[in-house]
């Protein structure tokens, strides 16, 4: 069985680094050739141009045990590839939103996306250059996160640290799943 966790966040925040820190394979890159009706960049032309764009997605793999594989997908950073996220997000067990406190606004879009789709996620603050204080509550406030969304500090380069982030996501997914089950009506015998 294969499962996937998405790793989202702004451009250059360390998504591929985090994937690489825990993956048993060197992060691989797939390219999706997109053929879409031209974006309306030039309305006056009145000609629908067909354009092809290539989007790269980096991903890694962790074999949990024989027959159970976890894939990590770094999401394309640019907002204009949101529609690709829908495919990536389908069936994802959870997501990591990687944040940099110097530009928290870069991850607003990702937080919003996962909230709307009900995908369990954790926010991991990538502490560059050993930032000493980790303002978890400030980050939670700034991102207006639900109280049960985990906010953890990490160093995306460190395997142990990246592991902790993933564990936080899966534990959160587990709690959510248990809650959902508890609130389901008990089927009649």
């Amino acid at each position: 069985m294969a499962l996937k966790i998405l790793v989202a966040g702004g451009f250059g925040v360390g998504k591929t680094t985090l994937v690489g820190a825990v993956s048993e394979i060197k992060p691989l890159r797939t390219e999706e050739a997109l053929s879409a009706a031209g974006e309306p960049v030039d309305d006056t032309a009145g000609v629908e141009q067909k354009t092809t764009t290539t989007v790269a997605m980096d991903f890694g793999r962790i074999t949990v045990r024989e027959g159970l594989v976890l894939y990590l997908f770094g999401t394309p950073g640019q907002d204009r590839f949101w529609f690709l996220w829908d495919e990536l997000a389908q069936g994802a067990l959870g997501a990591v939103v990687l944040a940099d406190t110097r530009r928290l606004e870069d991850c607003f879009a990702a937080v919003d996306y996962f909230e709307r789709r009900g995908i369990p996620f954790a926010v991991a603050v990538n502490c560059f250059e050993g930032a000493r204080s980790f303002p978890a509550e400030a980050v939670r406030d700034a991102l207006d996160l639900d109280e049960h969304v985990p906010v953890v500090a990490c160093d995306a380069r460190e395997r142990e640290s990246a592991k902790e982030v993933l564990i936080a996501v899966v534990e959160h997914a587990l709690r959510r799943s248990a809650e959902a089950r508890a609130s389901e009506p008990v089927p009649a015998p």
Partner: protein, 132 residues
């Protein structure tokens, strides 16, 4: 040092010689598409594996054969196949669809969307990660 005008791209750096969808004969969709999530696992069927010469269907392209080769030893996700064969995901989907149709590969679906994996599996994942 070469000036920009002298720069030439050779081999892989020059990009694909064949446009991606030429390899699929213009098809951008596959009947099996919804089964072919990025993490759907593809495994070459025993019998069709290993010896490429024995493959029954002569209309298979080199790209089809590349895919079979990559997923012969162990199951590979669609994403890995795309990375290993250096083909766009959309192209891999169409080609894997052909191979499924010809029963040369077997595809196991990931957990159906909108349905979380069960709690037992999630616990296994947590323990597995801890043990890494």
């Amino acid at each position: 040092m070469a000036s920009d005008a002298d720069t030439r791209w050779y081999d892989d750096e020059a990009g694909a010689v064949v446009r991606p969808y030429a390899m699929t004969r213009g098809r951008t969709r596959s009947a099996a598409e919804e089964k072919l999530d990025l993490i759907a696992l593809v495994l070459a069927e025993a019998g069709g594996t290993g010896d490429i010469e024995d493959l029954p269907d002569l209309t298979l392209t080199p790209e089809h054969l590349d895919i079979i080769e990559v997923c012969t030893a162990e199951a590979m996700s669609v994403a890995e196949l795309a990375a290993e064969t250096d083909l766009p995901v959309g192209v891999v989907r169409v080609l894997v669809g052909d191979l499924m149709h010809a029963e040369l590969v077997r595809v196991s679906r990931p957990v159906p969307p909108a349905q979380l994996p069960d709690e037992r599996i999630l616990r296994e994942v947590i323990n597995g990660l801890r043990a890494l």
